[in-house]
Symmetry: C2
Subunit: 155 residues, 2 copies
DNA sequence: ATGTGTGCAAAGAATTTGCACTCCC
DNA sequence: GGGAGTGCAAATTCTTTGCACACAT
């Protein structure tokens, strides 16, 4: 929702200032663009999308640099690594979750399983390992694609 | 162990034949090289290592192509995706497992938690999703690195 | 004013590919 | 013999970087 985005921007401002960074128009316009683009994105797609909408928002370099900043800030996560593609997620206003990725149609399904999170913590304790972040990707075939396959077999 | 490797090669031969491929010396030498290199590797490192040992085994292209084949065959998994690096694992003779990755020293710790596997299956059932493979990466700081940090703080 | 941010084009890194040549079956 | 495999260099794709200029504080 809108309020989350405003909070994010305020916090991001603080984050920038705390590291001696500056508040520029471009950075905040990129945040708006990402918020409008949708949850999951690849940087090159985002670059094309932004420049198709408004040439003056930011250059490719600035977009890459800002995505990196937002990642360090924590507003963006690298959630899926498939072949040589990286799919990012804008996490604002979302609970932590993991992903099912359909290798046929590319659909991304989010899920959260608290027990899995807890078991991970347990594993980390066993190894005296301090977790910073994690990523669970389950690749497979989604319901729709299985349905289509059945149709093709019959028809 | 040695027997596993021989079995793997035999099965890989069948795999190649079944798809109209050919049994070449290079492909099997690459398997030996990977087996000797160690469990986890990045392709470019492997390329450098192979060419430093024996120029005549295979070219960079053949190594890339063979790693891909072995992946399709199932002897190799992409287990860690960190920044723009891909770390592969030679799975021969190993149980399925996931990884803890120390972001400070790069150490990779393998673990298996059967309950996590089961919960994943449950999630897939809930979404009528047929899983093909999955990857769980937990990034953090390992025991040794925490110890070193403590030492530095004191000393 | 001072130092950070930005755009651009060039540089890098990791892969893939086109093509001529070589080798299995 | 014929198609599959290989090596090489060129092409791709994604990302980072050097530098001159612009802007925020």
């Amino acid at each position: 929702m809108q309020g989350d985005l405003e909070n994010l921007k305020r916090d991001f401002e603080r984050f920038l200032k705390s590291r001696g960074g500056k508040i520029t128009k471009g950075r905040f316009e990129i945040i708006d663009m990402i918020a409008n683009y949708g949850t999951h994105f690849e940087i090159e797609d985002l670059v094309r999308w932004i420049s198709s909408r408004n040439k003056n928002v930011a250059s490719r370099s600035t977009i890459y640099r800002t995505v990196r900043l937002l990642q360090e800030f924590g507003a963006i996560r690298e959630v899926i690594k498939l072949n040589n593609r990286t799919i990012y997620e804008f996490v604002v206003g979302k609970q932590h979750h993991e992903h099912l990725i359909c290798v046929e149609c590319g659909k991304i399904i989010e899920f959260n399983k608290e027990e899995i999170e807890q078991l991970q913590e347990k594993v980390c304790e066993e190894y005296d390992f301090t977790p910073i972040n994690h990523r669970l990707e389950i690749f497979g075939i989604c319901s729709d694609c299985k349905e289509k396959r059945r149709e093709n077999r019959v028809g």
